[in-house]
C-alpha cells in the first residue's frame, strides 16, 4: 500500500517536473528565436561615403550595405537557378553584406516558426503552398512599400513602377508586395492535331463552341479540366469570362477580392457561369475531369484524348518529358470573349516582399532595386522558363520560345491583362467548390452566387 502511494507520488512529481520542463523548453525556444543572429548595429547600414567605389550598379552607392541579409525563396516549377545567380550577383556587388539564402521546396513550412516568432527573414519570395500574400498582409507580416515604391529606382536608375509590366496588387490602397513573374492562364490545344483534323483554332466563345461541336462529332472529348484543383478552370475560363462580360473591366474581380457582395451579384458573374453551363450541357466537358488532378488531366490532353485544356503557361515546361512527338502547343489566354472582342489574359504571378519584422530592410530594399532591372528580367526568363514582370524585349534572350510567345501576348495592346488578384482563401475555396458542383450539375449559377456571397459576407465581417 505504502509502496503504491510512493509510486503515485513519484508519478505526480514526475508529471509536474515534465510539464515544467516542457514549459522551460518552449520558453528557451522563444528566447532563442527572438535573438537574431545579426547584431542591431549591423542592420543599420553604415552611411559611409565610398568615394573610391566605382559608380557601378548601385544608384545609391553612397550607402554601403553591411550586416546579415536573409532571403527566403520557395523552389517550385520555376526552379532555383535564377535565385542562385541573382543572389551571387548581389553578393558580389555588396561584398560587405553577408547574404544568407534559405531556399527549397519545403522552405515555407520550415520558416513558419520564425515568422510566428517575430524573427522572419528580411526578404521573401511569395510562391508555393503555405504562403499567401493577402493572409500575410492581414497578419501584419509584410512591410508597407507604398511610399517607398512611389519613387524607388532600380540599379539602372529607372523608376521601378515604370518598368513593371503589371502593377503591384493593392490591399486597401496599400502596396506590400511586387509581382516578379508574369505568367498567364489560358487554353491549350494541339496545333498538330487541329491541322490534321481540319479543326479551326478558337478565337472567341462562338468559334470555341463551333469547333468543339466538330471535335465531339469526330469522337474526341472537347474539354478536360482538373476537377481536383478547380482553380485551373476558374483561372482560365471563369475569371476571363467575367471580365469579358463586364466590358473588359477587371475591377469587378478586384471587388470580388475585396469581398464586396455586389461584385459577386453582378450580371457579368452570372453570364460567365452560364458559359460554363453551356460547355457542360453540350457535353463538352470530359466526365473524368471532376475526379482527376492536374497531372492526369494533362496526360490525357497530351494523349489527344481531349482537345482543349485550361492551364497555365508553365504547362509545356512542366510536362516537357511527356510531350509526344508532333505535339505542338497552341495557346490563347481566353476563349470566352465575344467575336471581335479583346482577349483577356488572367495573369498568374509570384511576388516578392520585405518582412515587416525584418532586421535589414535597407538591404532588402536594395535587393528589390537590384532584382527589378532589365538585365535580371531576361536572366529570369532564361533561367526559370517564365516571363518576368519587367517590361523589356526578351526576344534576343535564350528564353524558351513559348515564353517569348507568352510575353508577346501579354504586352499586346489588344489583350486585356488582369493584374495579380489574390482572393480571400475562404472565398477562393468556396468559388472552387461551387464551380466543381456547377460542372457536375449539382447546383445552378444562381446557387453558385448565393453560396459564394454567403462566404464573402462572413469573411467581410
Amino acid at each position: 500500500m505504502i509502496m503504491k502511494k510512493k509510486f503515485a507520488a513519484l508519478g505526480i512529481a514526475t508529471i509536474l517536473a515534465a510539464v515544467s520542463l516542457t514549459g522551460c523548453g518552449s520558453n528557451k525556444n522563444e528566447e532563442a528565436s527572438k535573438s537574431p543572429s545579426a547584431s542591431p548595429s549591423a542592420s543599420t547600414p553604415a552611411a559611409t561615403e565610398s568615394a573610391s567605389a566605382p559608380a557601378s550598379e548601385s544608384p545609391d552607392n553612397t550607402v554601403k550595405l553591411s550586416g546579415d541579409f536573409e532571403i527566403q525563396y520557395f523552389v517550385g516549377g520555376y526552379g532555383d537557378k535564377w535565385w542562385k545567380k541573382v543572389i551571387a550577383d548581389f553578393q558580389a556587388a555588396n561584398p560587405d553584406l553577408n547574404v544568407k539564402e534559405s531556399g527549397g521546396p519545403k522552405i515555407n513550412d520550415q520558416m513558419k516558426p520564425r515568422w510566428i516568432g517575430g524573427n522572419p527573414p528580411d526578404f521573401v519570395y511569395i510562391d508555393g503552398a503555405g504562403l499567401n500574400d493577402r493572409q500575410m498582409v492581414e497578419d501584419g507580416q509584410l512591410e508597407d512599400l507604398t511610399e517607398w515604391l512611389k519613387d524607388a529606382k532600380n540599379v539602372d536608375g529607372e523608376l521601378i513602377t515604370d518598368i513593371l509590366a503589371q502593377p503591384a496588387q493593392q490591399f486597401d490602397g496599400k502596396v506590400y508586395n511586387i509581382p516578379l513573374v508574369l505568367n498567364s492562364w489560358g487554353i491549350f490545344w494541339n496545333k498538330g492535331l487541329f491541322a490534321e483534323k481540319g479543326w479551326a483554332e478558337p478565337t472567341d466563345f462562338q468559334s470555341f463552341l463551333d469547333v468543339s461541336d466538330k471535335i465531339k462529332a469526330a469522337g474526341t472529348t472537347p474539354f478536360i479540366h482538373t476537377g481536383k484543383y478547380p482553380y485551373y478552370i476558374n483561372g482560365s475560363i471563369l475569371y476571363p469570362a467575367i471580365v469579358s462580360a463586364n466590358n473588359n473591366d477587371f475591377t469587378v474581380l478586384q471587388d470580388m477580392a475585396a469581398n464586396k457582395e455586389e461584385a459577386f451579384r453582378s450580371p457579368a458573374v452570372l453570364a460567365a457561369l452560364n458559359k460554363i453551363v453551356a460547355l457542360r450541357d453540350k457535353g463538352f466537358i470530359d466526365k473524368a475531369s471532376i475526379q482527376i488532378n492536374h497531372t492526369d488531366s494533362q496526360m490525357l490532353f497530351l494523349q489527344n484524348k481531349d482537345a482543349f485544356i485550361p492551364n497555365g503557361l508553365w504547362m509545356p515546361n512542366e510536362m516537357s518529358k511527356d510531350v509526344p512527338e508532333g505535339f505542338n502547343f497552341g495557346f490563347i489566354p481566353s476563349v470566352t470573349q465575344d467575336a471581335g472582342g479583346k482577349v483577356v489574359a488572367n495573369t498568374s504571378t509570384a511576388t516578392v516582399a520585405i518582412a515587416k519584422n525584418g532586421k535589414n530592410k535597407e538591404a532588402a530594399k536594395a535587393f528589390l532595386q537590384f532584382v527589378f532591372s532589365k538585365a535580371q528580367a531576361s536572366q529570369w526568363a532564361e533561367l526559370s522558363g517564365a516571363p518576368s514582370n519587367i517590361k523589356g524585349d526578351i526576344s534576343s534572350s535564350n528564353a524558351p520560345s513559348f515564353v517569348k510567345d507568352a510575353a508577346k501576348f501579354l504586352t499586346d495592346p489588344n489583350t486585356v491583362v488582369i493584374p495579380t488578384i489574390t482572393y480571400n482563401a475562404d472565398v477562393d475555396k468556396a468559388m472552387m467548390d461551387a464551380t466543381d458542383a456547377l460542372t457536375i450539375s449539382k447546383i445552378t449559377p444562381e446557387e453558385w452566387v448565393e453560396r459564394v456571397v454567403a462566404v464573402a459576407k462572413k469573411v467581410a465581417k
Binding site: 510539464v19 516542457t22 466526365k287
Partner: protein
Amino acid sequence: MNSGTAKWQRNIFIASFIIPTLIFFCIFTIYPVAQGLYYSFFDWSGMSDTKTFIGFDNFKEMYHDPIVWRAIGNDYFLVAGKVVGIMVLATFFAVALTRFGFKMAGFFRSIFFIPNVISVVVIGVLWNFIYNPQIGFLNAFLSLFTKEQVTITWLGFTDHTIWMLLPPAIWAGIGFYMILLIAAIQSIPASYYEAASIEGANQWTQFHRITIPLVWEQIKVSVLNIMMTTLNGSFVIVWIMTEGGPDNSTQVMGSYLYQMAFRQYHFGYGASIGFVILILSLITTIVLQRLMRHETVEMS
C-alpha cells in the same frame, strides 16, 4: 536496513523505466494536446505572431458549419464500413486459413498481408488509377461485359463518393487483423473441435460456439483499433484520393482540419477540430467497449 536499501534499489530500478517514458509521453503527447486545446480558443491564422483570444467561438462556429457535420458523418460511415468489412473478411480468411488446413494457406496468408506493408499513400495512388474513368482498371474490366466503353467517374459522384473510399481502406486493413485472429485461433486447442465433432457439431456451430467466443478479446481489440485509426487516420487516404472533394462530399474531420488550418489559414479553428476528434474518439471508445462487453470465456 538491508531491506530498505533493497526496496530503494527496486524503486530506482522501476523509476528508471517509467520516468524516461513518462517524460517523453508528456513532451510528445500531453504537451501537444494541451497546446492544441489552447490554440482552439484563439483566432489565429497559424502564420501571424499575434493571436486573438475568442473563447469558445471556434466551437460555436463548428456547430453551425455544415461541412463539420458532413465530415463527422463520413468519419463514422468509414468506421462502420471498415469495422464490418474488415472484421467479416479478416475473420473469414483467418478461419479459412486455419480451420480447413489446405496446402496453400501460407501463400494466401502472405498475399492477404501484402497491403499492410504498402504505404497508405501508395494505396491511395494505386486505387486512384483503379478508379480512373478513362484509363482505370475498373472501367476497363466492366467494359468487357458491355457493348459501349464504361466511363463511370467513381470518385466524382455528387453524393456518395465516400462509398468509393471504403474498398481501398478495407483492402488495406484486412491483413493485420487476419494475422491477429489467426494467432488467436491457433491458440485454441484442437481437442475442443475434435470433441465438438464427435458430439456432432457442424463447422458453423463450431465457428460460432467455439471460435468466436474464444477469440472475442482479439475481435474487441481489433474493432477498437479500427475505430481509433479510422477517426484519427482516414485523413491520409482521403487527402491522397479526393482531397475531400468533389465539393466537400468526402471530407472527414482530419482532412477538414488540414484544409482549414493550412489551406485556409484558420489554425485556431483547425485546432478546435482536432480537439473534437479527440473527444469523439474517447466517447466512441467508451461506448464501443460497453457495447462489446461480453462474458470472458477462458480456456482452461
